[in-house]
């Protein structure tokens, strides 16, 4: 089993054989929000076509290689030495665009009791989002 740490959370997936991060499209979509379609790998209105002549690196045998797509989309990723844990990040450009829209990015985090809280729960209130640490 392979663990993916994505923008949508933590997911256990079955990673196909070979280098890269080869998942069944359903698993890939559930873990990342990016779906494989005839147009390419798509999220919302954006589709990234499979580069011509290199298709086999991106999609083969009914699987999609998220690692290849992430590199191709210039989105950051990281993997453990064994390749059993992957972080699939968001691009700096997308983060920047989000911040410059001035719409406060939503997030969901647990409190001490394990209860989940989302920023969007507080829509309608002023929110002071402040950070601290025990270290």
């Amino acid at each position: 089993m392979t663990v993916i740490l994505s923008q949508l959370g933590e997911f256990e997936v079955r990673d196909g054989p070979g280098d890269g991060l080869w998942l069944e499209p359903d698993q890939a979509a559930a873990a990342t929000g990016w779906a494989l379609r005839p147009e390419g790998l798509c999220r919302g209105d954006i589709c990234v076509p499979i580069p011509a002549g290199r298709g086999a690196n991106f999609a083969a045998d009914g699987k999609v290689n998220l690692a290849a797509f992430w590199d191709h989309m210039d989105m950051p990723s990281a993997t453990s030495a064994d390749g059993d844990i992957w972080t699939l990040g968001e691009s700096a450009d997308n983060r920047a665009a989000s911040l410059l829209s001035l719409d406060a990015p939503d997030f969901t985090l647990p409190d001490l009791a394990g209860e989940a809280h989302s920023l969007s729960d507080y829509r309608g209130n002023k929110v002071l989002l402040t950070t601290w640490a025990s270290w």
């Binding site: 663990v3 740490l5 933590e10 210039d74 950051p76 990723s77 990281a78 993997t79 453990s80 030495a81 844990i85 992957w86 972080t87 699939l88 990040g89 968001e90 691009s91 700096a92 983060r95 920047a96 989000s98 911040l99 410059l100 001035l102 719409d103 406060a104 990015p105 997030f107 985090l109 647990p110 409190d111 001490l112 809280h117 920023l119 969007s120 829509r123 309608g124 209130n125 002023k126 929110v127 002071l128 989002l129 402040t130 950070t131 601290w132 640490a133 025990s134 270290w135």
Partner: protein, 202 residues
């Protein structure tokens, strides 16, 4: 910004806040809002719009005058530290009371101008950091350490990343010689950049 609930627990329980105190093991909020240190804060209005982007939440540079033998800070610096914090809290209170009329809210252009943007390197650093935190939680500390090192190399401005991974004392505080050396290496650079609010000490 803590690796585990237990690190944050004694602090939260001492205060019993009536606001949500959340555990952000992967520093997701720092990643989303491009934060690099604590305390940093964002002001978000009722419509979910950022009216003051991530900024130093009233902390003051005076701690750098700390005597590392006696762990004391000179009187005048302590005064400034207290004043800075009080000024920030007072501004927040004004906002609560008076809303947009409080004089501390940015318009859209000002808010964008005050937004510090992530870089390719900081985005990659957050991937390494999140991976490292996961590995650490699963008993793979040596592996984690490699990724934390990479994260700090790419995003040296992030004190959150560096201090979370750094050596802690018995109370969980990163108070090491390495920390103080890293602070000193800032030279004239700020650990707590001044925040743009009327009345802040220089």
């Amino acid at each position: 910004m803590d690796s585990e609930a237990d690190a944050a627990r004694p602090w939260i329980e001492a205060v019993t806040p009536d606001y949500p105190a959340l555990i952000d093991r992967a520093h997701r909020v720092a990643e989303l809002y491009n934060m690099v240190n604590v305390p940093q804060a964002v002001w978000i209005d009722e419509a979910g719009k950022i009216v003051r982007p991530a900024e130093n939440a009233g902390a003051y540079e005076g701690f750098r005058a700390m005597d590392l033998e006696t762990w004391t800070i000179p009187e005048d610096e302590v005064t400034a530290i207290v004043k800075a914090q009080a000024t920030y809290f007072s501004a927040v209170a004004d906002w609560v009371r008076y809303g947009a009329a409080c004089g501390h809210i940015y318009d859209a252009d000002q808010a964008k101008a005050h937004t510090s943007l992530p870089s390719r390197n900081s985005a990659q650093a957050h991937c390494y950091f999140r991976l490292g935190q996961y590995l650490l939680r699963h008993g793979r500390a040596a592996e984690a350490s490699v990724h934390f090192g990479e994260a700090s190399r790419l995003h040296p401005e992030s004190w959150n990343i560096w201090r979370q991974a750094a050596e802690k004392n018995e109370t969980g505080l990163n108070n090491s010689a390495e920390f103080w050396a890293r602070v000193e290496a800032l030279g004239d650079g700020y650990y707590y950049p001044p925040v743009d609010i009327k009345g802040m000490p220089e």
